[in-house]
């Protein structure tokens, strides 16, 4: 069958389409495109904030750039505290698969790596929370091993943990930080501002896979914390701590403390307390362990203050070192109260008063002084004043205004009762003798140049008292056990009765020894205090002086100070083999 019609001759084409129809369609199309173009311009040019923001939310991220906390160094640049990366393990409990045996078998391994009982771990993973810390601040290596286990729902993030290589020996000075890396005690707290760094940030665009593609905006670089260099010498610190610990244990004492100070600069070379603690593991820590006794505790210094009383009298020309003082019959009555010596020493020179540590002699010397004179010098050497030292909780001790002193109080203060001071203050006060009569401030930070001292005594007085201190450690003195091999020493022992409540407790003592070496030109001042030795002996000369002796001897040797006394050499040369 043939088709009957040609296209060109179709009758349908014969009817004319009205012109308005094509125009109408055209107008519709133009309108639609205009609408689209308008919308596009609106979205992309005029009101693009919303989409820009949404785009950023999806791809732009702010990365936190962590800053390192500064280190704490000793005077020789050795590390006392430093931050190291640590892995903190966290979990999304509902993501942890507890039904598949394969995943379950990994949990004991995880518990073992974290040194955590399995039950405790399981309990944590069953908590009804979307986020739980499983264990924070694990060693970085342990973290890597945990990562290798690949447990679903268990993640880790990088944190910083403080490491203290010196451990308990320097714990009280260095202090420690909390889990957030903030200083809590000691120098970590005192210098928190300097040590803490400032975190930085960087705005970046990440792709679908989480890779950083491009940086946007400005970076804020992190600022690392500043390193703090202390005046502490870690070798001396360790040695002082070790010797103190041995003595405290040997004498069954409650505790003890030792301070080693550079006699010329006031820098603290060591400051140790026992009992101490391990700053890296602070579980079951007691206040007793935590206390930095040398700085925060104040005691009545007892006889260790006598050299200062005698110094005042020498300085004011009231006595000379050879002035005779009658201490018989070993007692003296001051406005109704009796002050006594352990025995009747009879006639003593001023030097002898210090050597024998006579209370009666010191009282008689102090009676020639006014309360004001004594108070002024005691204040000048730092008693009753807050030490200018960057350490949290430094105690100022007690020294009452001289106007309220009664005669008997002036007498008792002359031999160290009725006022209180910390061991640090006591140590510092002795710089007046080691430093030509000038008292210098104590510092925990390494100094570039020696500080300017405040003159209290004349050079001559300082020298005279040093000679007396040497006598006190010599034959017939109370501190003979302070002697060392090779180095001349001088110092004063003290045995103070402990105050419990308002009265002095029977049988409870504090043994002190404060001294310096080499005595002609002192390099070190060492002060030792042992609290309640309860092994029969409790005298400062017997309990504290031996610690002084070993610490002085080792410290001077470590500092490279040649001996100033003749030493019997015991050097054994290599044995020579006899020829056959």
């Amino acid at each position: 069958m043939r088709r009957g019609l040609n296209y060109t001759s179709s009758p349908l084409l014969a009817s004319k389409t009205p012109a308005w129809r094509s125009k109408f369609v055209m107008a519709c199309v133009v309108f639609a495109f205009t609408g689209l173009a308008g919308r596009a311009a609106w979205v992309q040019v005029i009101d693009n904030d919303f989409f820009l923001r949404q785009g950023e939310v999806r791809f732009a991220r702010t990365l936190e750039l962590s800053a390192n906390r500064g280190r704490i160094l000793d005077r020789n640049g050795l590390i006392l505290a430093s931050s190291v990366p640590a892995a903190s393990i966290w979990a999304i409990p509902e993501d942890v698969e507890k039904n598949t045996p394969e995943e379950l078998s990994k949990l004991p391994q995880l518990a073992k790596l974290m040194e955590m009982p399995l039950d405790q771990l399981k309990k944590k993973l069953e908590e009804d929370k979307s986020f739980v810390w499983v264990k924070r601040q694990l060693d970085w290596d342990v973290g890597q091993q945990i990562k290798a286990l690949g447990i679903k729902g268990v993640y880790q993030s990088r944190e910083y943990k403080r490491q203290y290589p010196e451990g308990e020996a320097a714990a009280h000075i260095v202090g420690f930080t909390n889990v957030e890396d903030k200083g809590q005690e000691g120098m970590e707290l005192a210098f928190e501002k300097d040590l803490a760094g400032k975190i930085g940030s960087r705005r970046v665009i990440k792709d679908r896979m989480g890779r950083v593609v491009e940086g946007v905006g400005e970076d804020i670089p992190p600022i690392d914390g500043r390193d703090i260099q202390l005046s502490i010498d870690s070798k001396i610190q360790f040695f002082a701590y070790q010797k103190l610990k041995e003595q405290v244990i040997a004498h069954k004492a409650l505790g003890g403390t030792v301070v080693v100070m550079d006699a010329k600069t006031g820098e603290l070379l060591a400051l140790a307390n026992y009992p101490s603690f391990n700053p890296s593991n602070r579980k079951r820590l007691t206040g007793e362990q935590l206390r930095n006794r040398a700085i925060t505790d104040v005691f009545e210094p007892g006889s260790t203050i006598k050299p200062i009383t005698v110094g005042i009298a020498l300085e004011n020309g009231k006595v000379r070192p050879g002035t005779q003082i009658d201490t018989s019959p070993g007692r003296i009555n001051v406005t109704g109260s009796t002050i006594s010596d352990t025995k009747n020493y009879g006639m003593l020179t001023v030097e002898g008063v210090i050597q024998k540590s006579s209370n009666v002699g010191t009282t008689k010397i102090s009676q020639q002084l006014t309360a004001k004179e004594m108070w002024e010098t005691f204040s000048a050497v730092g008693f009753g004043q807050k030490p200018q030292i960057a350490f949290p909780g430094a105690a100022s001790g007690r020294l009452r205004p001289y106007k309220t002193w009664r005669p008997v109080e002036q007498a008792t203060m002359s031999y160290g009762y009725g006022l209180s001071a910390s061991l640090l203050q006591m140590t510092r006060s002795y710089t007046v003798f080691s430093n030509g009569g000038n008292v210098i401030p104590a510092t925990m930070l390494k100094l570039d140049k020696p500080p300017v001292g405040v003159p209290v005594f004349s050079e001559r007085t300082a020298e005279q008292v040093r000679k007396m201190l040497a006598l006190a450690t010599g034959p017939g003195g109370t501190g003979q056990r302070a002697q060392t091999v090779g180095y001349s020493v001088g110092g004063k022992s003290g045995t103070a009765r402990k105050q419990v409540g308002k009265n002095y407790a029977a049988g409870k003592y504090r043994a002190w020894f404060t001294g310096m070496a080499p005595i002609e030109n002192p390099r070190l001042i060492v002060a030792v205090m042992v609290d309640e030795p309860s092994n029969g002996t409790y005298y400062g000369g017997a309990v504290a002086a031996p610690v002084f002796s070993t610490v002085v001897q080792q410290s001077l040797r470590l500092l490279g100070v040649p001996p100033d006394m003749a030493v019997q050499p015991q050097i054994v040369a290599n044995p020579v083999e006899e020829s056959l």
Binding site: V84, W140, P165, V213, F239, R557, P563, I571
Partner: protein, 93 residues
């Protein structure tokens, strides 16, 4: 006129391609820099960690324990031979 337009078109195309290339390069370099900075920080931290470890292995407490275990005794002036420094005047005597 047509020729000039054509040339301009080519120039625009080339410039556009170059822009894409530069953009790509800049992103690549940024990523590299970011990675390198991270690595440098990581290495620095690692360095610090190792330094602490080194220090922990050489503390006086450890040395003392090791020395005692080997039967060594501490030095004292009695077993020290002191040498005078004759070169420097006013130095250690």
């Amino acid at each position: 006129m047509l020729r000039l337009n054509f040339l301009l078109l080519v120039a625009v195309m080339l410039s556009a391609l170059y822009l894409v290339q530069t953009q790509y390069e800049s992103r690549r370099l940024f990523t590299e820099l970011h990675r390198a900075t991270n690595e440098s920080r990581n290495l620095e931290t690692e360095h610090q960690r190792l330094q602490v470890e080194l220090r922990a292995q050489s503390t006086p407490a450890r040395i003392e324990a090791l020395a005692v275990a080997q039967g060594l005794q501490g030095a004292s002036p009695a077993i020290t031979h002191y040498v005078r420094d004759t070169q420097q005047t006013g130095g250690a005597q």
